[in-house]
Subunit: 477 residues, 2 copies
């Protein structure tokens, strides 16, 4: 194709974001890049990982994510059948630190490795065109440029930053020097930029590891020093590489655009025209979804009457009906419902801030909470009881634990449980129950080959998550 | 007050409607008149019953309702501390048949009893003014008129029928003969009617029983014959008077307005000006609710951002958020969500029709299903299991029953259960469980003084409601 680049590109997927503007589907406990937002059976993170799975173009990818998301990342990679290194950031330090870690990590194997930085939450409509573009830009990266992919605008969007093109780059077909990075403009500014041939700033970067490290040394030496120490002090935890927390915390919190890209004279841009979206808000999600003749994008149990141009998602068993409204967004989840308009969807970020201020747990926690061993979901709660549905993956094992304020009844509804209660170990099969008295030491394991599902009825004066004493845990929690 | 009427008025509350335009709060299984729609702690039916509880003005009321709603009516009367006769219609035959039953039933005790027909689903802002108006109109009724209350319009509503006033009625202060009944007009028509002094047709009627029977004999003899036979053949069932089904089914299905009021020359109207609404649609509900400074009427766990003039109701544990929309209606219930605008709320009726056509159970059934012994609510469902929360009132007793396809685990979370399993009877206390194998004959009773609540986990190849063999039932089902 359009490539003189023959070595393998080293992809690094950044997926530390929390995506609050897509609440209630996206929350801190399960950010948008891990949810089946656009495709019903895969997340944008999985789509991104698969997009760089072509072994003739890419080497084994690296994932940089938060400690909280590590089990989700591992589970989703397993589902997507993609093998990767997983690097854990002890806290969020924005993209400059993450890119520095990516460059340092790649340089350990090959200082001249060409690194491709990818966001985990973008939608790209044409993988072949994307791979061709990456390989074409890699030529510039190999020659010492820090290349970006610049998306040919399809509308005067005010949601994206822009890149003005400079002079052509000799020897890199179709590429330009970066004239200037432009912050998100207003509508009029966007129109002028497009008239001048400016491109959307996609946030994809390609660079040689040693080149990025040199630029960091010049423009952001504190970030480089902090991340180098964080990587030197990193520990291996199960399958994860965990950066040293103290060192990493000392990295200034800033974007790679600000730290390097706007300062370096090595910035280049390759204009590309594949379909692309950062699906940053619900109106952008609507924009990339298939729609019916009336312009509605629906999922789940949805009924519409005289409704046009709307996004209506209904999760689980819920029935969601919209009557006589146009251009609205309705997202119904098992514990929270959002109703907004496409025009005002950007305000959802403020809603989440408001929910946090009022300490609503739904601001950050999903009803279904994913754990390394599977998930649990509250299905009912009363004054002195709580009911949960618990799923344990084959081989999954909860921590050895006890509670001071509640007894638990477990009824197995699928699969087989191995239950430890004090010094007894019993197998509990489908349609069997077991009782765990207050104060008993207990543990739940799925010894079988199919998922284990059980209904847990907690009874007691207090049923909060924090009434738990963990004695032993195979996941190191 | 404005009354020369000194005898007691006999109130008859009609509550056979299903109120589909207020879906999902109102459904066939629990119509709007029984839900806490306007007041958080009482239904409009209860408010109506209390409105005629003044023993100096009213005699013991009669309730005419459907067989399906009988236990709800009994339970709500108990809660409201109102004693009444309850007459059950075997099927819906519209208001003419119900009014005929009311007249016949009252005439058995006193042929000249003055009957007041009330709807169960109206909101009246001033009980004293209502009672005064009823007593003033009763003077006309006693004199042989069939009186209606005509509401002074506060807006050119197209949702109500109108009454044009005729000549003053001698001897009934403030009352007029009915000039003409006018069907729901368009906006322009409504404005003209109001300019001409027309009144809203409230659907409240006052008449002497013998006068109404005479008019029915003249204008609707088939209805009178059918309802008389239905009452003659009525049976007493627990505390209910159950009309004979075959006889009642032969009554033509028509409204009292059409059958009598538009034909009789005895129709009179008393103009009244107390705050009144039939809360027929969600915009009408918004209209009668207290609202905040931005014009929002909210209930439950609701968060709003840049939202004005909206009705947002969130039932149960759900969090419902509206962002950047004005004049919308959002009603979130445990199994269904409605999003519409105040302007288009009338279309909800069509939505329910659509839901029925597609056989969605949420069209007519609530998540929480009320039974004579209490209620049950599904809280989770999977491929081979279902979980319910069950509440049994003190003294409540479910039927003796068995299932062919499911076993059941019951965990008591509040109160004490008396459980019969085949030939055993056991008491099950809070935090205890009992297992009911497939095919076992079982029965659940609350022998205690506080409500019994339990979590039922059903496991089996089929968990539908119709897998039940009832052997014995104290409620005659």
């Amino acid at each position: 194709m359009a490539s003189g680049f023959s070595a393998l590109i080293h992809p690094v997927i950044l997926c530390g974001g929390s995506g609050t503007r897509l609440w209630p589907a996206s929350r801190e406990s399960m950010p948008k890049q891990f949810t089946p937002l656009v495709n019903a059976d895969s997340s944008t993170f999985q789509d991104t990982a698969r997009r760089v799975a072509d072994g003739t173009a890419f080497s084994r990818p690296t994932i940089i994510t938060s400690s909280d998301a590590r089990f989700i990342v591992a589970e989703q990679l397993l589902q997507a059948e993609v093998q990767a290194d997983i690097v854990l950031e002890p806290e969020r330090r924005d993209s400059a630190a993450a890119v520095a870690v990516a460059a340092l990590h790649a340089a350990r194997r090959d200082p001249e490795a060409v690194v491709l930085i990818l966001a985990a939450d973008h939608v790209i409509g044409d993988t072949a065109a994307f791979v061709d573009a990456a390989r074409a830009a890699a030529v510039g990266a190999q020659a010492g440029r820090i290349m970006t992919l610049g998306i040919e605008p399809t509308a005067p969007s005010t949601a994206y930053g822009y890149i003005r093109k400079g002079a052509s780059i000799d020897g890199v077909e179709g590429a330009y020097e970066v004239g200037r990075f432009v912050e998100k403009p207003n509508r009029h500014g966007a129109e002028s930029l497009i008239a001048d041939g400016a491109l959307w700033n996609s946030g994809y970067f390609l660079f040689r590891a040693d080149v990025m490290l040199a630029e960091l040394e010049t423009y952001a030496p504190e970030i480089l020093a902090a991340t180098r120490a964080a990587l030197d002090g990193a520990t291996t935890d199960l399958d994860f590489l965990r950066l040293d927390a103290t060192a990493f915390a000392s990295a200034p919190k800033t974007s790679i655009d600000y730290a390097v890209m706007e300062r370096t004279d090595r910035a280049g841009v390759l204009p590309v025209s594949f379909p692309w979206s950062d699906v940053g808000t619900w109106d952008a999600v609507w924009d990339v979804l298939p729609r019916d003749a009336l312009g509605n994008a629906v999922r789940g149990r949805v009924e519409l009457v005289e409704t046009r141009g709307s996004l209506v998602h209904s999760e689980g068993e819920h029935l969601t009906a919209v009557v006589g409204l146009d251009d609205v967004v309705v997202v119904s989840t098992p514990d929270a419902v959002l109703v907004t308009s496409k025009a005002k969807a950007g305000l959802v970020k403020e809603l989440v801030t408001q929910l946090r201020e009022k300490a609503h747990p739904e601001a950050d926690a999903h009803r279904r909470m994913f754990r390394p061993w599977g998930w649990y979901q509250r299905i009912d709660i009363g004054e002195r009881f709580q009911v949960k549905r618990i799923m344990v993956t084959p081989g999954g094992r909860l921590s050895l634990q006890k509670h001071f304020h509640r007894a638990e009844h477990w009824v197995v509804v699928r699969g087989t449980a191995e239950v430890t209660v004090d010094d007894r170990v019993v197998l509990v099969h489908e349609n069997e129950a077991v009782y765990l008295p207050i104060g008993s030491m207990h543990r739940l394991t799925n010894p079988g080959k199919i998922p284990l599902e059980l209904i847990e009825v907690q009874v007691g004066s207090y049923t909060g998550e924090d009434d738990i004493i963990r004695v032993e845990d195979i996941y190191g929690r």
